[in-house]
Symmetry: C2
Subunit: 196 residues, 2 copies
C-alpha cells in the first residue's frame, strides 16, 4: 500500500493515534476495527503493529493525554488568586475550548474510557474522581463565601461537566460553528445558575 506519510514532524505513531481517535469517536471503540483504522492510515492492518503495541494502547494513550491535560489546568486554576465564580468560569471556558479544539480525543476519553483495561482503568477512574473533587471544592468555597447559591456541589459539577461533554450534538447539527458564541451562551446558563 505504501508507507505512512510523516509530515510536519509528527511521528507515524502520532498519526495513527490521531486517526484512531477519529475512528473511535465515530464508531465507538468496540465497533472500530484495526482493519478499518489501517485503511484510513493507508496501510495493511498488520503494519500498524510496527508502531503500536495493541488496540487498547491507543485507547489508553488517548484517555491519559486528556486526563493529564485537565489535571495540569486544574493546577493552574487552583494556584490563582481570584474568586470562585471566576475560577469556575475559567474552567468552563477551558473545557469548552478543549471540546472544540481536540474534539475527537476529548469525546473518546469521555465516552469510551470504560473499555480501558486494568491497571489503566482504575488509574483513570481515580484521576477523574480527583478532578471532580477539586472542581467541587472550588464550588464549595464559593458557597462558603456566599458567591454561590447553596446547592450540592457534586451535582453542580456533574451538571457542568455533562453539559459541556454534550457539545458533540452541536457539532453534528451545525457544521459551521462559532466556539465563542457557544461559550458565552453556556457561561450565561451555567454560571448564571450558580450565582447567588
Amino acid at each position: 500500500m505504501g508507507r505512512i506519510k510523516t509530515e510536519n514532524n509528527s511521528s507515524r505513531k502520532e498519526i495513527i493515534l490521531k486517526k484512531s481517535a477519529e475512528l473511535f469517536k465515530e464508531k465507538g471503540y468496540k465497533a472500530a476495527s484495526m482493519r478499518e483504522l489501517a485503511e484510513i492510515v493507508g496501510v495493511e492492518a498488520a503494519s500498524l503493529y510496527n508502531h503500536i503495541r495493541s488496540k487498547s494502547e491507543l485507547l489508553h494513550l488517548i484517555c491519559f493525554n486528556v486526563a493529564t491535560h485537565y489535571s495540569a489546568f486544574m493546577d493552574e486554576v487552583e494556584a490563582e488568586k481570584s474568586n470562585s465564580l471566576y475560577k469556575i468560569e475559567k474552567l468552563i471556558r477551558f473545557l469548552i475550548d478543549g471540546m472544540v479544539e481536540n474534539f475527537e480525543e476529548v469525546y473518546v476519553c469521555d465516552r469510551e474510557w470504560k473499555y480501558l483495561t486494568e491497571p489503566y482503568l482504575s488509574n483513570f477512574q481515580a484521576q477523574r474522581r480527583i478532578f471532580r473533587k477539586r472542581f467541587a471544592s472550588i464550588i464549595e468555597e464559593g458557597i462558603r463565601k456566599k458567591e454561590i447559591k447553596k446547592i450540592d456541589a457534586t451535582t453542580a459539577v456533574l451538571v457542568i461537566l455533562h453539559a459541556i461533554s454534550g457539545i458533540e450534538s452541536w457539532h453534528r447539527s451545525k457544521q459551521k460553528f462559532d466556539g465563542k458564541e457557544l461559550q458565552e451562551n453556556m457561561i450565561t446558563i451555567l454560571v448564571g445558575g450558580l450565582k447567588k
Copy 2:
C-alpha cells in the same frame, strides 16, 4: 438449563428485554454478547431466538420505548396552559424521574442509539430532532415573553438534556440516593440559569 421464569404477568420476551437493557448499559451494546445475556436470563444463547428476532431488535425496542414515552409527555406539556418556565421545570422533572426510575433503558437509549440499524436509525434520529425542536420552542416562547434570558435556545436544550443524562455518574458514586434532592438541585441550577 431450565426455562425462563415468567412471574407477575410479564412475558418471556419482556424479561429478556429488561435484562438486555441492564447488560447493554453495563457493557455497551457492541461489547455485550448474546451468550452473556443468555447466562443472565438462565438459558442457552440459541434459546433466546425463540423469543426475539435478533440482538438489534432488543436495541431498537429499548430506544423506541423511551422515545415514544418522551414524545407522549411532550404532547402533554405543550397542551398545558402555563408559563414557559413552569413547562420547562415540568420537563426537567419528568426527564430526571425517567432517568431515576427507568435508568437502564434511558441510559442505553441515550448512549447506544448509534448502533441502531436502518431504517430505525434514521427514524430515531428524526424523533430525537423533533423532541429537541419542541423543547427549544418552549424556551424561545419564554424568551419572547421575557421570562427567560436572551440565550440561544438550542444551546440551552443541549445543556439541559446532557446535564440530565449525566446522572449516571451520580448513580455510581452514591448508592443510596435521593431522587428528590437531586431534582431540586438540578432545577435550581438549570432553571436558575435561564430565568431573567
